[in-house]
């Protein structure tokens, strides 16, 4: 057989590869993320749910303010304004569930489909692939969060205007709250990647993370009366920390925005670090 006719021959010189770098792995992970339908669907649904929920909350506030029977009593007007400031981030509790699911699905499906073996043969040092995937998912989650919160803000103004509750971006804590809606989703996404990589299973990962975000706070709420420490501990739950990170006003005795952010980041870092340690050791 002649060399020229041989397939994949070096003499063809069409191959032009370069060493693996983090930038190239990042690009690979971006292609992977953008080319599965679940990414687009879950991002679109997250956006729609967050904006829809925010608009609904805005409408609810207006209903409360314009209730002809009770009328806005003294003092309530102030708290309604605060509630209005929180409208842009109002969709977060559901948005974070969907983003958590997206993150778990994106890493978990690597394992359930066998794709992880292709990935790890291409990036045999393993850790860059996990970090690149984490970064891609965190960034798109951040963007979706900010975009959804800002869209909600715009959509809510005409609704709130009916009761003179509309406000500008410069209002107390509003702009940080909009941006931190993205921060929360990014950190939740990192937790999702960590859990997905640890469990290597899409369904199990989603259940675990939804449990941590949704069920644990409910259990904590039920147990609050039993011991003082339960309430203290519950403040460290990811969902509570996320709530504090996007709060426009901090209630006395609660963590402030920075503290909330650090607690949530702590969860994300611990889970990702555990995932890295396990990925290094375990067979694929």
């Amino acid at each position: 057989m002649s060399t020229a006719a041989a397939p994949g021959s070096r003499s063809q010189r069409s191959w032009a590869g370069r060493p693996v770098t983090f930038g190239r792995v990042l690009r690979s992970e971006w292609i992977k993320t953008a080319t599965v339908p679940s990414t687009v669907i879950l991002l679109a649904v997250s956006f729609a749910v967050m904006v829809g929920l925010g608009a609904l909350v805005a409408w609810g506030i207006v209903q409360l303010a314009s209730d002809p029977e009770s009328g806005p009593p003294e003092g309530i007007g102030q708290s309604l304004q605060t509630a209005a400031y929180d409208v842009p981030s109002a969709g977060l509790p559901f948005g974070q569930l969907l983003i958590a699911a997206l993150a778990v699905v994106l890493i978990g499906s690597e394992y359930t489909t066998g794709m992880i073996r292709s990935t790890m043969v291409a990036v045999p040092t393993r850790i860059p692939a996990l970090l690149a995937k984490t970064l891609v998912i965190a960034v798109i989650s951040f963007l979706v969060g900010v975009l959804a919160a800002f869209t909600t803000y715009l959509l809510a103004q005409p609704i709130l205007g009916g009761s003179d509750l509309d406000f500008g971006l410069e209002a107390d804590g509003v702009l940080p709250s909009i941006i931190n809606t993205g921060t929360v989703l990014a950190l939740i996404a990192i937790m999702g990647v960590g859990i997905g990589a640890l469990l290597r299973n899409t369904a199990g990962g989603v259940v675990t993370l939804v449990g941590a975000l949704f069920v644990l706070p409910i259990i904590a709420g039920l147990l609050t009366g039993l011991a003082d420490w339960v309430e203290d501990a519950a403040r460290f739950l990811p969902s509570s920390a996320a709530g504090q990170l996007v709060a426009t006003q901090v209630q006395p005795g609660q963590f402030n925005q920075v503290e909330g952010g650090l607690i949530l980041a702590g969860w994300a870092v611990v889970l990702l670090a555990a995932a890295i340690l396990v990925l290094r050791k375990r067979d694929v």
């Binding site: 994949g8 069409s14 191959w15 693996v20 292609i31 992977k32 291409a122």
Partner: protein, 315 residues
């Protein structure tokens, strides 16, 4: 070149690869033959670092696979059909892998054409047949124009035309001086594709030799002789290192002597030979001889495992 030294892998209590040492040389097709569960796939996974060895080492061109800066350029591996996300298209799958080493879209399209995936490249891999999945796996293996190819059961699920294509492909790649390591349980396929054979059974290397040597069962020559005076001939050829088997009243199998030596011995004693047939062992015979014990062992294993399962059902 692939070099394994005392390579071993245990999963829990089960030993998959039991301290194997071998080297796979460039410029020829090395077949990796063994029954199911013999440790072929595990060995290949150890080579590319998907599994960590329990003990021992394996290197590709002098370095552990993970130490290479351009791993896809070093080794092209087909380890399992469909190590692919089923909702992604073949084209995007290859593009994502190519991106890790900045491999051009041109090369992606080239391997798609080369493997005959053109018509289905934009379709989701989930709908691919087993054969198409294999072609995609081979396309991914060729993407980085690798010096070493590791193909686990590449002809699995391929149609006859595809089988021929793989044979042509791997021989061509070896002829270019590349290292080609190809596993199969199809002994007949190995006989026409491989230049060198490594036979594995129950995690141990049973043979590591050129294919002709394996075919003839070591160097021992084997000749079937027909003669009216079988006893006389047996006496005539009897010597150290010669084995004689009585096949029938007028038939002997002589191992360790050439046909000519047998004829000369018979001629010297005046014994008439009516048939003198040099035997070539088929690869199947050699393979069964080498792995026979292992296959038996496996059947027992399956039986042992089935028993507790039945108990569970009856409860």
């Amino acid at each position: 070149m692939i070099e394994a030294r005392e390579l071993a892998k245990r999963y829990g209590g089960k030993t998959a690869v039991d301290g194997v040492s071998f080297s796979v040389q460039p410029g020829r097709v090395t077949g990796f033959l063994g029954p199911n569960g013999a440790g072929k796939s595990t060995t290949m996974r150890l080579i590319v670092g998907l599994d960590h060895p329990t003990s021992g080492t394996v290197t590709v061109n002098g370095k552990p696979y993970a130490r290479h800066r351009m791993p896809l350029h070093e080794v092209g591996a087909l380890l399992e059909a469909k190590a692919v996300h089923p909702r992604r298209s073949a084209y995007n799958h290859l593009r994502a892998l190519a991106a890790t080493e900045g491999i051009s879209t041109k090369r992606v399209n080239e391997v798609i054409e080369l493997t005959g995936l053109g018509p289905v490249a934009r379709k989701r891999v989930g709908g691919f047949s087993l054969g198409m999945g294999q072609r995609l796996g081979i396309a991914a293996a060729l993407l980085g124009d690798p010096q070493t190819l590791i193909l686990d059961e590449p002809v699995n699920g391929l149609d006859p035309e595809g089988v021929k294509w793989v044979r042509y492909l791997v021989k061509g790649l070896a002829a270019e001086g590349r290292t080609v390591f190809i596993s199969s349980h199809l002994m007949s396929e190995m006989a026409v594709t491989a230049d060198h054979l490594i036979v594995i059974g129950r995690g141990r290397i049973l043979a590591d030799a050129p294919i002709e040597t394996v075919l003839t069962g070591g160097q021992a020559e084997r000749v079937l002789v027909r003669t009216d005076d079988a006893d006389g001939l047996a006496a005539a050829v009897a010597a150290a290192g010669v084995e004689i088997r009585r096949e029938a009243a007028d038939e002997l199998t002589v191992l360790g002597l050439s046909a000519r030596s047998i004829a000369e011995a018979a001629f010297a004693r005046g014994i008439l030979i009516t048939g003198l047939i040099p035997q070539q062992e088929t690869l199947e015979d050699a393979y069964m001889e080498l792995t026979g014990g292992e296959v038996e062992y496996q059947s027992q294993q399956i039986g042992a495992q089935a028993f507790p399962a039945n108990e569970g059902q009856s409860e």
